[in-house]
């Protein structure tokens, strides 16, 4: 069976475009050339972005796993929503992370962001096979290993729980 080239895949290019925009914005922000210092109701705009992004990832991921098993016919649409939603969420959290990194210490947020980044990268490389050329040198590289993505998701939730306890001043 002939597989469709990723060069002609609109989804791949759209996700890649979001990835490129995220890298561009995060770099410009860390260099002090882009500024998101806007306050809304005494809360930073970037904090709002991170809440929206984190809430989507945390709520939609289990919902996605549940719905795709309950109704396999809509898996394709659920997956598209999972991909675009989580990619945009990752962009939102990145903007917040960089804004915070240059302003205040971040504690467990670093670890949480790292897991989110690894989740995105493992999902991206797994779905679009951008590390495929390395297959001739290394066997079972991450994009072939779906379990990496799933286990990272589990780790993400553990760190998220501790991060939530930290930011809500749980004693």
């Amino acid at each position: 069976m002939k597989t469709r080239s990723k060069f002609n895949d609109a989804e791949f290019w759209l996700v890649t475009l979001i990835l490129l925009l995220t890298i561009h914005i995060a770099t410009a922000e860390s260099l002090g050339r882009l500024n998101f210092n806007i306050s809304i109701f005494s809360t930073r705009f970037t904090h709002f972005l991170s809440i929206i992004g984190s809430a989507f990832v945390v709520l939609y991921t289990p919902l996605y796993y549940y719905l795709k098993r309950r109704n396999p016919r809509i898996t394709k649409n659920l997956l598209k929503f999972h991909i675009f939603g989580n990619t945009i969420s990752c962009t939102f959290v990145t903007i917040h992370f960089v804004a915070r990194l240059i302003r205040l210490p971040i504690g467990l947020g670093v670890l949480l962001y790292l897991f989110m980044l690894l989740l995105f990268l493992s999902g991206y490389t797994f779905r679009y096979g951008v590390l495929k050329p390395l297959n001739i040198f290394i066997k079972n590289i991450p994009h072939n290993n779906r379990y990496l993505h799933v286990s990272l998701t589990a780790s993400f939730y553990i760190v998220f729980l501790f991060h939530l306890l930290q930011v809500t001043d749980f004693q």
Binding site: G32, R44, V130, I136
Partner: protein, 204 residues
Amino acid sequence: MIKLVETWNKITNSAFKRSMLVLGLVLLAFFSAFLWPLPEKVDEIPVIDGVIGEFEYPVFHRIGEMGLYLDNDQEFGYFALTSPGSGWLAIGFSPSDIHMGANYLFFSVVGDEVFVGDHYGVSQFVHESDIDLGGSMDIEYFSGVEDQGSVVEFVFRLNSGDDFDTVLEVGKSYSIVVAYNEFDDVFDSKHTQWYKHKISILRD
């Protein structure tokens, strides 16, 4: 030789080209960020709104987990202090022996309100309000925001005329202590962490 050619063919297949294209675009996205113009430095006094803008303060000190931003003219010092906690945060100027002789400025952000205290270190372990000691509260303006940490901005007269305040002179350096409480907003509660540091009052 044939194996080598096969390997080369595998490398230059469309998957390889796609990966190289993505890598190239990633590098382009990264380096093109440097093309954004740097914001112009605004030679104005900081805005005391609880939000620290880019280039708002000319000096920044990372002091442990806390941050201190500074600016001054001939008459006033403009400060912004950050802590990772939600409780009080404070700066003390010129302590001679632990608390002794230090001019402490305390802040705590509770919701939309900021509470302040102008204190003086009366002994090694005790500080009291300037007002209780017969002095005055000399923090001119202040503002703060609590968002996964605390940020306060305030204006303090370099020479307030109060016997319980340190006189800060332009061009001179002063030892300071900064401290914060992670959760408690009551100024009498013990600090979670404190740090010693040295700052200079800028020549205008």
